[in-house]
């Protein structure tokens, strides 16, 4: 299989504000359907980098190609209509209804109103904002979490192949944040899209990212899959960045297949109602299953014997060695 060609290709991108170099000679690619998370301390240049992709900020040097075309060869507004964009402050148009907000980009693209209306209804329903109730409301009548869902629906409405999100779940309380994030993850549309997402939140990055780009002072510190950054940090900066949440993150990246060699042998065979998990599931997911369900043990697919909570944690400890 030929690897999918990159949708976004950035080379030697540089942006300065006065004497301050905010984006420093960055080169990277994002493949079709991939979710790249930009992570890093405040002020490291995440927002600036994201905005250069849709030309809200013009860089001082370097090139950006999207779908094989240099962004500078397109009119900014035409480029932007093909790229979904969500900002932290949401920025819904306060004088338009929820439905009108969602339909903004299809409207700019001149799509037929009936088609836009159907698409709006579908998206709002899918994001748990029943269209007949929320569609006619004004943004000011919604809660913060509801507004962010509308912002998400608006970015998706024209079905753009690329979506940029700048801290889309910021400024929400943890419970709402988790709920909106879950809705986001469960949108199967997003699986097909190329996503670049900025966040402060390490857990969020691990949950959503195919690859994480860890930035500091405008430079890439490490770019790779989450587990690689966690288990094989390229520098002390990368290591210390994840230090505080080390254990929680490890639970998320280590799979059952990796702990299997350390599990005790000769356990009793499972009964028919023992829950089954795939070897690709993370330890975190397995623990979640045990905590939530009535069962006290589970088994791996294609393996006969049961595994208890204690045995799993012991094997996890050994696997990290």
């Amino acid at each position: 299989m030929i690897p999918p060609s990159p949708v976004i290709r950035v080379s030697h991108l540089t942006k300065r504000f006065g004497a301050q170099v905010v984006v420093d000679d960055l080169s990277f690619e994002v493949a079709a359907g991939e979710t790249l998370v930009l992570l890093g301390p405040s002020g490291c240049g995440k927002t600036t980098l994201l905005k250069t992709l849709n030309r809200l900020i013009e860089p001082n040097g370097g090139t950006i190609e999207i779908n094989g075309r240099d962004v500078r060869q397109q009119k900014p507004e035409e480029l932007r209509r093909g790229i979904g964009y969500v900002i932290q402050q949401v920025g819904l148009l306060p004088h338009l209804t929820v439905a009108q907000n969602v339909g903004v980009v299809p409207g700019l693209l001149g799509r037929p109103p009936a088609e836009t209306a159907a698409r709006t209804t579908e998206l709002l329903n899918r994001l748990h904002l029943p269209a007949e109730r929320f569609g006619p409301m004004l943004p000011a009548e919604l809660s913060g979490g509801q507004q962010q869902r509308v912002g998400l629906a608006r970015a998706l409405a024209a079905d753009p192949p690329v979506i940029l999100l700048d801290e889309p779940f910021g400024a929400l309380d943890p419970i709402t944040r988790t709920a909106v994030r879950r809705d986001f993850r469960e949108l199967d549309e997003l699986r097909r899209k190329t996503v670049v997402l900025v966040t402060h939140d390490v857990t969020e990055a691990f949950e959503l990212a195919d690859r994480i780009m860890l930035l500091d002072k405008g430079k890439i510190q490490q770019l790779g899959p989450p587990r690689e950054l966690l288990l094989h940090p390229a520098s002390d900066f990368v290591r210390s960045f994840f230090q505080a949440e080390q254990l929680a993150l490890q639970l998320r990246v280590v799979t059952l297949a990796e702990v299997q060699p350390f599990l005790p042998q000769g356990q009793p065979a499972a009964s028919a109602d023992t829950p089954t998990l795939p070897p690709t599931a993370s330890v975190h997911e397995a623990l979640g299953q045990l905590d939530a369900g009535a069962a006290s043990a589970f088994r791996l697919a294609d393996q006969p014997q049961v595994i208890t909570r204690g045995q799993l944690l012991a094997a996890f400890g050994q696997a990290l060695g």
């Binding site: 507004e77 932007r80 209509r81 900002i87 402050q89 920025g91 148009l93 306060p94 004088h95 903004v104």
Partner: protein
């Protein structure tokens, strides 16, 4: 209190005038407002793109706002003459600050996050402006326009001072005639207009941002239409052929029964088209040929300076206005020596002498005091001021706000200083008749020069029967005024000074000669043709 029934009677009797003035008022306001929106909103928008200019432009508009409206009109007259043009320009200048300022504030008040999100979604600059910034700024811009409207309706009352008409005509006539009913007759509709305009614009704004087009159309179509309601007929009138002569009269002259209405009746001046104009402006308007007939005072220095002709009142329709000091008798009782001193002037000033003195002040711009002392010296009446004994009581002299009164007050002051041990304080420029009179009654001043006709018509306002019995005879009027002032107000008139500063009709000497007009009868006959 018969104010309210009187008011309704007045409106009923003057319904035609009221309608016309209201129409003019609406038209002036609407024209200025339309221009204000057409200029102010684009300037405000431009300023949001050029923030560096904001300080300068808003500062300039702010300074304009602080110029007193009457002064602003005065500035404009040399450039634009009289009539609707300077009035509209003045109103326009007043409406700029609130409109520009609110436009800037409205656009800048759009949350940056909304602008960024809209850009990020692919709005062009134009779409961002029309579909996002303008609709969101609209309530604030409309608030500015409403502020400008209320200011404009109020200031438009001053348009009556420059012959632009409007409800100010009633108000100024009412003020100069000391007639509260007349003042209210103009002021109440003006206030009602302000409320109506405000409500109309409020309704327009409530159409909400989503109907931007409706709001824009509403402002840019309705306002010119309202303005056309006034000038349309005027333009039609112009096409039917301009009347041969145009007059401008001061508010008091228009409103007083014995002035324009009396003249119209007696001489048949009904066909003379006239505007209302501030007394201070009528002479220049006549000199500059903007109008052909004005009312004036027969001792005014400008008659001589501008080459004007007094039309003879051959049928004695205009009332006599002999000047005499009015004072509080307490002052005379406390200082009996004052009476003979004041009387030194009685009968001493002829019409031509007074005209000449006024000419020196009004037209040669000499100091009233110097002019007054010069005349006293020539008459041998001037004495060096006596040294004041400590704690000497003071006589307070008041005057209305024109040269003749300043000169007379300076004469009295010099006479009192030279012949008594009393101090003198002058309170000049007390505005019109009512202010001087009330100051005298209230004891804020002790004396001021008044005219028999004014005392009769403005202050005493006797019945038509009494007026008829007096019949415009100077001695009869003086005796009546003297007696009635004593009886009603406890105030005393001294003997008149000699000159009769009566109302008169004036034309340019040259034009009057060409048309062969020397008397008001001639004028009436000329108009009948």
């Amino acid at each position: 209190m018969s104010l309210l029934p009187d008011l309704f009677t007045f409106w009923h009797e003057q319904a035609g005038k009221l309608g016309h003035q209201t129409l003019q008022h609406v038209a002036l306001t609407a024209a200025a407002l339309g221009l204000g929106v057409a200029v102010g909103v684009p300037v405000g928008l431009w300023l949001t793109r050029r923030p560096r200019w904001q300080g300068a432009v808003l500062g300039a508009a702010g300074v304009l706002q602080t110029v007193p409206s009457i002064a602003l009109l005065g500035f404009l007259i040399p450039f634009m003459g009289i009539g609707a043009r300077p009035a509209i320009v003045a109103l326009l200048l007043y409406s700029l600050l609130p409109i520009i300022r609110n436009t800037v504030a409205g656009i800048q008040g759009v949350p940056p996050a909304v602008v960024e999100a809209a850009r990020g979604l692919g709005f062009t600059n134009g779409q961002l402006f029309r579909q996002v910034e303008l609709p969101l700024a609209l309530p604030v811009i409309m608030a500015g326009i409403r502020t400008a409207t209320v200011i404009n309706v109020g200031v438009a009352t001053l348009a009556a001072y420059v012959a632009a008409g409007g409800l100010g005509e009633f108000i100024f006539e009412g003020i100069s005639l000391n007639n509260p009913v007349m003042i209210l007759a103009g002021a109440l509709p003006s206030a009602a207009l302000a409320l109506a305009f405000d409500a109309g614009l409020g309704a327009l704004a409530a159409l909400s941002a989503r109907r931007l087009r409706a709001v824009g159309l509403g402002l840019l179509v309705v306002l010119p239409l309202l303005a056309a309601g006034y000038w349309g007929p005027q333009l039609l009138g112009a096409r039917r052929g301009q009347p041969a002569l145009q007059a401008a009269f001061s508010p008091e002259f228009v409103g007083r029964a014995d002035c324009l209405p009396g003249l119209s009746r007696i001489y048949g001046l009904g066909k003379l088209p006239h505007g209302v104009l501030a007394p201070a402006l009528v002479y220049e308007a006549l000199r500059d040929g903007r109008v052909d007939v004005i009312d004036g005072y027969s001792t005014d220095g400008r008659i001589r300076a501008y080459g004007l002709r007094v039309l003879r009142d051959d049928r004695h329709a205009l009332p006599p206005y002999y000047c005499a000091p009015v004072l509080r008798p307490e002052v005379l009782r406390a200082h009996p020596e004052l009476g003979p001193v004041l009387d030194q002037l009685s009968g001493q000033l002829s019409d031509s002498a007074m005209t000449n003195l006024n000419y020196q002040v009004d037209n040669l711009h000499r100091d009233p005091k110097a002019v007054a002392l010069g005349w006293l010296r020539r008459r041998g009446l001037l004495k060096a001021p006596r040294p004041l004994p400590p704690g000497a009581p003071e006589v307070r002299l008041g005057s209305k706000i024109f040269a003749e009164q300043y000169i007379l007050v300076e004469m009295y002051a010099a006479l009192i200083r030279g012949n008594t041990d009393l101090g003198v304080a002058t309170k000049t420029g007390l505005g019109g008749t009512t202010i001087c009179f009330e100051a005298l009654r209230g004891g804020q001043i002790d004396m001021y020069p008044e005219y028999t006709g004014t005392g009769l018509q403005v202050l005493l306002q006797p019945s038509a029967a009494v007026l008829d019995s007096l019949g415009g005879r100077p001695e009869a009027v003086f005796s009546y005024v003297q007696a009635e002032f004593g009886r009603r107000y406890g105030l005393a008139w001294r003997a008149p000074l000699g000159f009769n500063n009566a109302y008169c009709l004036l034309m340019r000497e040259q034009q009057a000669t060409e048309l062969g007009i020397t008397s008001i009868s001639n004028l009436g006959k000329y108009l009948q043709k």
